[in-house]
Amino acid sequence: GAGVSQSPRYKVAKRGQDVALRCDPISGHVSLFWYQQALGQGPEFLTYFQNEAQLDKSGLPSDRFFAERPEGSVSTLKIQRTQQEDSAVYLCASSLAGFGAGEQYVGPGTRLTVT
């Protein structure tokens, strides 16, 4: 497809379970971003990759959150020992380049519900 895709679209996890969320960016896009969108709020930055390098992870809320992009394309956001406050929509976005291109294409998101 032409856009950013994410899977699964919906995930229900019991508190304490580990989850892995996948993002397939647009082919050729260098930059990849993860955002967390709580219910009724705007998305908040989690982490940023340029190719396979994670250049900024300052938004990750705790050390239970981990992201990787080993080959510079697909990215995975992993949350260990999920907590109820992790319930949110996790958005992935990609952009062509990290030098002023500006426009990010946002995926449909994964809605995580922790029970």
Binding site: G42, L55, S95, G98, Y105, P108
Partner: protein
């Protein structure tokens, strides 16, 4: 740190009328991007319009236009000839023009179109 403020949690407009959504932001940078994103209910977030801060001319995209006031750090979105399909959450966002181009989003404005 940059902040984006949307002071209108909800707005409504009659079909075919014009509506303006407000956004203010705070930054110490002189060069940056500003965006309006649309997020329909249960659907993917899409870019509506973007403005580069060094350009004085206001961006326009068909029925969508912005009023960019750099000195006042204001970036409002005007939707003309409102259509039922315009109903959505609208997010104002800021991105630096260098390095990590992470988006800083406002809290959103929910726009309702009245038939």
């Amino acid at each position: 740190a940059q902040t984006v403020t949307q002071s209108q949690p909800e707005m409504s407009v009659q079909e075919a009328e014009t509506v303006t959504l407000s956004c203010t932001y705070d930054t110490s940078e002189s060069d940056y991007y500003l965006f309006w994103y649309k997020q329909p209910p249960s659907r993917q977030m899409i870019l509506v319009i973007r403005q580069e801060a060094y350009k004085q001319q206001n961006a326009t995209e068909n029925r969508f236009s912005v009023n960019f006031q750099k000195a006042a750090k204001s970036f409002s979105l005007k939707i003309s000839d409102s259509q039922l399909g315009d109903a959505a959450m609208y997010f104002c966002a800021y991105s630096p023009n260098f390095g990590n181009e992470k988006l800083t989003f406002g809290t959103g404005t929910r726009l309702t179109i009245i038939p």
